[in-house]
C-alpha cells in the first residue's frame, strides 16, 4: 500500500531523515516510535505530500507522490484521513460541522445522508450529544475523538495518526487506542501511527518501526521489538537513562 524508499530530508542544514525505507502492507496498522524531535512527524507529513523530500520516494498504491503536484496529488490525498497531533479542528466550526465538513466539500451526498453518517461517526467515538459544542468547549480527549471521526467520515483507505494520544490521561489513552483498534477492525483501513506510548502501543499495532537518527533502526511485530537485543531499541522501550541514546 505504502512504500517509502531512501527518504532524505534536511531543514536549514539540519538533517532529519537520512534514508528512511519502510513498507506498509494493505490494511496493516503500523506504529512508528522513536525519540522526540527525531523526525517521526516529518516522515508522516511526507506520506501525504505536505513536505517534499530532498531525495527518495514515497509510493502510495504504486504511484510516487513526491513528484506529483496539484490535482494529481489531491487525487492521492483523497485516499487519506489524517488525525493531527492537536486535532487540527476548525475552531470556528462546531463538532458536527467539523465532522461533516469533508463530506459537504468532497461529496454530493444529500443533507440527510450526511447527517446520518455524522451521527453514526459521533456514536462510534462516543460523542453523541456534543454536536453543537465548539472545539474550545471540549476536552483534549474529546478533540482527539472528533479528529478521529472527521478523519474516518469519508472512509479513507489510509489513515495517518500523528501522536493521537499525546497529553491524555491513562484512561483516555486506553479509550483512544481502543477506538483506533475498533475502527480499524470496522473500516479496514491501512494505518500509520506515530506514538510514544510504550508499552500500550504493543497491543494496538500490527508492526512497530523504530526511527532512530533519521533511519528505521528496526521493524517488526510488537513481540520482536519487545524481545530485540538491539541496545538502542532496548534502551528506548525501557526508558532507561543509560545506553547508546544520548539525552540532549
Amino acid at each position: 500500500m505504502i512504500k517509502i524508499a531512501d527518504l532524505h530530508r534536511s531543514f536549514g542544514g539540519q538533517t532529519v531523515l537520512r534514508g528512511v525505507s519502510l513498507s506498509v502492507a494493505d490494511k496493516e496498522l503500523i506504529a512508528i516510535i522513536g525519540e522526540s524531535g527525531g523526525g517521526k512527524s516529518v516522515l508522516l507529513r511526507h506520506l501525504i505530500g505536505l513536505l517534499k523530500p530532498d531525495r527518495g520516494t514515497v509510493q502510495v498504491e504504486g504511484e510516487d507522490i513526491t513528484t506529483l503536484t496539484g490535482r494529481k496529488l489531491d487525487r492521492i490525498r483523497e485516499k487519506f484521513g489524517v488525525v493531527f497531533q492537536g486535532g487540527a479542528l476548525f475552531d470556528s466550526f462546531t463538532v458536527y460541522d467539523n465532522i461533516a465538513f469533508p463530506l459537504k466539500e468532497k461529496t454530493k451526498l444529500p443533507k440527510q445522508e450526511i447527517h446520518e453518517r455524522v451521527e453514526e461517526a459521533l456514536e462510534d467515538v462516543g460523542l453523541k450529544g456534543m454536536e453543537s459544542k465548539y472545539p474550545a468547549e471540549i476536552s483534549g480527549g474529546m478533540k482527539k475523538r472528533v479528529a478521529l471521526a472527521r478523519a474516518l467520515i469519508t472512509e479513507p483507505k489510509i489513515v495517518l495518526f500523528d501522536e493521537p494520544t499525546t497529553g491524555l490521561d491513562p484512561i483516555m489513552l486506553h479509550a483512544i487506542h481502543k477506538l483506533i483498534t475498533d475502527t480499524h477492525r470496522k473500516y479496514g483501513f491501512t494505518g500509520v501511527m506515530i506514538s510514544h506510548d510504550i508499552p500500550e502501543i504493543f497491543h494496538v499495532a500490527d508492526r512497530i518501526a523504530f526511527l532512530y537518527r533519521g533511519v528505521i533502526e528496526l521493524v517488526g511485530t510488537p513481540r520482536e521489538i519487545r524481545t530485540s537485543s538491539d541496545p538502542v531499541v532496548r534502551q528506548f522501550i525501557r526508558g532507561s537513562l543509560r545506553g547508546p541514546i544520548e539525552i540532549v
Binding site: R45, I48, L50, D74, R75, R77, E78, F80, V82, F84, Q85, G86, A88, L89, F90, D91, F101, P102, E105, K106
Partner: protein
Amino acid sequence: MIEKFLRATGSWAISILRRMGHMFLFLLRSIYYIFVPPFKFRLLLREIRFIGTKSMTVILLMGSFTGMVLALQIFYTLRKVGSEAMLGPAVAISLIRELGPVLSALTITGRAGSALAAEIGIMRISEQIDALTAMALSPIRYLIVPKMVAAVIVFPLLAAIYDVIGIFGGYFVGVKLLGLSAGTYFSQMKHFIVMEDITIGMYKALTFGVLVLWICCYKGFYTGYGAEGVSKATTEAVVMSSVLILVSDYVLGAFFI
C-alpha cells in the same frame, strides 16, 4: 574584501527577489481561485461582515472627526486669505481624493487586517491549514479568496462612507460652530468636485483593499512557529500594509494628477 561585499549584497538581493516572487505567486494563485468554481458565497458574506460591517463604528467615528479637524484647520487658513466660502470644496476634495481612502484603509488594516493575519497564522500553527490540504481542499480557496473578494467590495464602500461622514463632520464645524452658511458649504462643493475626483478615490480604495489583504493574508499564511511567529507576522502585516498604503497613495496620486 570587495568580493565578500559583492557576495553579501548579491545574496541579499536574491533573497529579497525570491521573497517578492513568492508573494507575487501567492497573489496570482489567489486571483486564479477567484475565477475557478466552486465559489464560497457563504464564506464571502462572513468576510464582508467581518471586514466591513464590523469596521463601521470605527469608520464612522474616524470619518466624522477627520472631517471636523480638517474643517477647523482649513477654515483657519482660508480666513487669512478671506476665502472661507471655499471650506466645503476643500474639505470634500481632501477627503474624496486622499484622506477618505487612505485613512479608511489604515483603519481597516488596524482593525481587520491584523486580526486576519493572526487568524490565518493561528490556523497555520494549529495545523488547520494542513488539515485542509490533507483533505485535498485548497486553503487558498477557503481562507484567502473570500477575504480578498470581500476587501475589493468593502474598501471602496467604507471609503465612500468615510468621505460622506467626514463631509458632514466638516459641515458641523464649519456651519454650526464657525458660522459659515450651509448653502455656501454645499453649493461651492457642487461646483468644484468632478466625477474624476470620486473615481480616483475609489481606484485608490480598491488598490489599498487588494494590497492590505494580500499582505495580511500572505504574512498569516506563511507565519513562523508558535505564538512569537504569529505575533511577528501580525506586526509585519500591519506595518508593511500601512507603509504600502502611503507609498501607493503617492504613486497613484502622482499618476492621476
